[in-house]
Symmetry: C2
């Protein structure tokens, strides 16, 4: 049998850090990557075979870009799905499928999908306006989420009591019961056209208190085997019910009573899987590539306990990025720095991440804290 993966061009809509890490994997398989991004200096700019500069939400731009590729995928959900649908109709492979991207673009549809498919999730009500939220004050404490265009912590507002109600969104969104969870975990699953379905071991996420971004991640999650198996089962159930090809990150709450509730899903490589580059036998980026290109899926076993720390732009600094304090970290065993090639830093912008490997889980947490305190992105 001839393996002709290398004869196919993979187009990625979006050229940020996720695309960049996919390219780092694709180099090993001689797969030519074309990138579309609105930023001339996108992280993928210099390491892809072909770079197109254009708007991801514009039909003509996305369609023209896709025509030059054999397989098309995304690294961000906010893209023109009509163009992707047309490309799929014309015989291009588009993974994740356009209708799934459209579903995930709207958190309201996402929640309804869970409900219709018996996927456990927090109770919710759809709201069309601020007035609608106010009228449902008895549903608090809750999280008010914008239906569309929330990203990286934007479009999410916790409403603990009526005093918070003035923060409610005016646009269509939803109110979700605030879950007094024990842990937040994530499971990444992937599925290819040949029906293979593989899950990564669950990881545990710790969020930044104000920026609503993953601040630390630990693998494996400190949960019981039963909860771990249940989380994998739920994540597999989601990708099967979506009938999706590609990689899907499923973020879940573990409630204090041990219940699993799906929080959010992302049909692409995800922040909760960055550690897999060094910590697992197959990285999420390679797995994504394998899934969309129709290659066999790889083994997802964890090689060593790992932590991941996002390197966010320091609050108060905007401008040409300067990384401080890397030297100490570089000397340590098992510390892996990834900078994303973004010229400009802004408060809380994702500028890079660090993976820490360490057999001893206590030492792992201490090292992760130390890395977070020593490496700073300023301007």
């Amino acid at each position: 049998m001839q393996d002709n993966y290398q004869q196919k061009i993979l187009g990625i809509i979006g050229g940020g850090q996720l695309g960049r890490m996919v390219i780092q994997s694709a180099i090993n398989y001689n797969i030519d990557i074309h990138i579309l991004d609105p930023d001339e200096n996108a992280p993928c700019r210099h390491i892809c075979h072909d770079f197109s500069h254009g708007k991801l939400t514009d039909y003509d731009t996305v369609y023209a870009f896709g025509k030059g590729c054999d397989v098309i995928t995304i690294e961000i959900e906010n893209v023109n799905t009509e163009a992707l649908e047309q490309l799929a109709k014309e015989g291009k492979k588009v993974f994740p499928q356009p209708e799934i991207i459209r579903l995930i673009q709207d958190k309201r549809e996402q929640k309804q999908f869970y409900k219709e498919n018996n996927i456990p999730t927090a109770d919710f009500i759809l709201t069309d306006s601020k007035a609608d939220v106010l009228a449902n004050a008895d549903f608090l404490p809750a999280v008010n989420k914008l239906g569309k265009e929330g990203y990286d912590g934007r479009g999410v507002q916790v409403l603990k009591s009526e005093e918070d109600l003035d923060k409610a969104f005016e646009a269509p969104g939803l109110l979700e019961k605030l879950i007094d969870f024990d842990k937040e975990i994530a499971v990444i699953v992937s599925r290819n056209e040949h029906g293979e379905l593989v899950a990564f071991p669950p990881v545990e996420c710790a969020f930044h208190p104000t920026a609503n971004l993953v601040e630390f991640l630990f693998a494996p999650a400190q949960i019981s085997d039963e909860i771990g198996e249940e989380a994998i089962k739920v994540a597999k159930d989601v990708i099967i019910k979506l009938d999706m090809i590609g990689i899907l990150a499923v973020e879940m709450f573990v409630t204090k009573s041990g219940e699993i509730l799906v929080n959010e899903i992302a049909p692409r490589p995800h922040n909760s899987g960055h550690h897999t580059i060094e910590a697992n036998f197959t990285s999420q980026f390679e797995q994504h590539l394998r899934a969309v290109m129709g290659m066999p899926l790889g083994n997802t076993g964890l090689r060593m306990p790992a932590a991941m720390v996002n390197l966010l732009g320091e609050d108060g600094f905007t401008g040409d990025a300067v990384v401080e304090g890397m030297d100490e970290a570089m000397k340590e065993k098992g510390i892996f720095i990834h900078l994303y090639g973004k010229k400009i830093t802004k408060p809380f912008r994702k500028m890079g991440h660090v993976t820490i490997l360490e057999e001893n889980v206590e030492a792992l947490k201490a090292k992760a804290l130390k890395v977070k305190d020593s490496i700073k992105i300023k301007a």
Copy 2:
């Protein structure tokens, strides 16, 4: 302290697979890489910041290329060292230093360097011509090596008895006593401007019987601790006596009496270190980058026993490369395929490599053999 590695441009003379794997590491540090290569379709072509097409042995080409960089390194020894010397004089950082590259370009000078510096090596005599070799027939069995331009198995001839004498080289070279060795091992050492000096654990090489190329590599080498420590001591001694900055691969024989003899050295990432990408905490490619850029050197500990198999072009096939039999290997745990992006295959051309990780050393050898038998590069 500000870490300004990212503000420096690294130029690599040569854009083959070694440069390609350096770039894969450099992406993590936002280091811009410029490449010079005579092949328009060199493996680094599409993944570097700037690609110059030109002859590596031409003074003007190398000089002009180097002027646009801050730090200059090599991935092949056959380069114009006069241009590099001029660049160093003008304040560019050139690592390895030009005089070391020149020394290593000539195996005769290399051997004399060992002798003058008490570095253990096989006995030898310099020969200027075929007639010279014939006149020294009593030195057989020996290896006849060309002084210059031997590479990837070319320029080396085993002369077991007088019957082999017609294979002797006509050009200046040397005759080296044929060593009835127990094992061939290699130690990669690296050294930066700050005086840091770090060794990778010794590995064991098994050569292809006719092509004189590494066919299998195993890490760790199956040698005693004493021999391992001695090998590291010898390798460190070589880089110190060369006063070299960068990464140096030291290939050695372990004789049946347990003696260590230096065979060849290479002042760049080397085939005997490819497994380090997945098997060690720091890869040789990242270590090379760290050493030449003046970054702290990384921990070289082995994470897991590893084997490495070169994917050589099948004998009898020349033309557009087609990889066969990848699927089975991709399904297995701990198998990592690296293709080098070379369009054209030729018999025994290095087209890629596979690293195999496995705790059980016996299983490791079996898996390495299986990979070698299943993945084929044809045309």
